[in-house]
Symmetry: C2
Subunit: 128 residues, 2 copies
DNA sequence: GCTAGACCCTGTAGTTACTACAAGGTCAAG
DNA sequence: CTTGACCTTGTAGTAACTACAGGGTCTAGC
């Protein structure tokens, strides 16, 4: 199949597919006589893998590690587990930070009066 | 004071201060005869404002809107409230997304056996 | 046969919010 | 008079794409 088809199948922009190939995340496509990229099922699976990993918040580098592991004929489960674990911790940390942020914002918002006044305590607060 | 002093006072890298000036977030510093930037209390307050807003997760563009509002002699509280509200919603959405992500990752992790096996169901799962 | 339109190609520049140099000028202390 | 800390500018790098510009290719309709 051509790149447009793969793009439609995986719901991923054409540019992104080319980009993943360029940075070596996706294996090189076979080229037809006219220079067009040609893909098969194997490519589709790789791309799915990458897209799912990205959707789970893995960075490009982490995805690369995952694809490297998956590329081995006998991927070691322990390595995958480790990557997964580190990433879950990252996500956990981000959630905690955002929650702290939300609390601070709510506190700030609580200082607003009904919105009819012209003096804004929020700005004063941020100004220190 | 010079830029190094401001940097130390606000715990913000020198480069970042120059960067904020360059993109117009921070008002231009007065220049001394030797070309060095010179700052006063007003600048320190602006920078604090920017740093606090950024720490609360406001984007550069949102910070710009906030500073624009703060710049008015009679900032309208309602406008500030609106910005704050939109941002709290953004943060809320991010938290929800990360929680969903965490759940998916935990499910994936649960498929790992004790880590001694060589076949990895996690990779199979991502591969689809 | 020809042209319109859909598809494909490469390469470069833009995005966000900085960070990290490189190459040089200024100034106070020893 | 030199050493070192500080300052200046400008450019390039980061993540992870996205958006062109300027072309080539192929198919369908007239």
């Amino acid at each position: 199949m051509r790149i447009g088809q793969l793009s439609a199948d995986c719901d991923c922009p054409v540019e992104t597919i080319r980009y993943y190939e360029k940075i070596g995340l996706l294996p090189q496509a076979v080229r037809r006589a006219n220079g067009y990229r040609s893909y098969d099922e194997m490519h589709r699976k790789w791309l799915q893998f990458i897209l799912r990993s990205r959707a789970l918040g893995f960075s490009q580098d982490e995805v690369r590690q995952l694809t490297d592991l998956a590329h081995q004929q006998r991927p070691a489960c322990a390595d995958v587990y480790e990557l997964l674990d580190a990433h879950i911790n990252d996500v956990q940390t981000k959630i905690r930070e955002l929650k702290r942020m939300r609390l601070a914002l709510s506190r700030l918002q609580a200082q607003c009066h009904d919105g009819t006044l012209h003096d804004c305590p929020v700005i004063d607060e941020l100004m220190g």
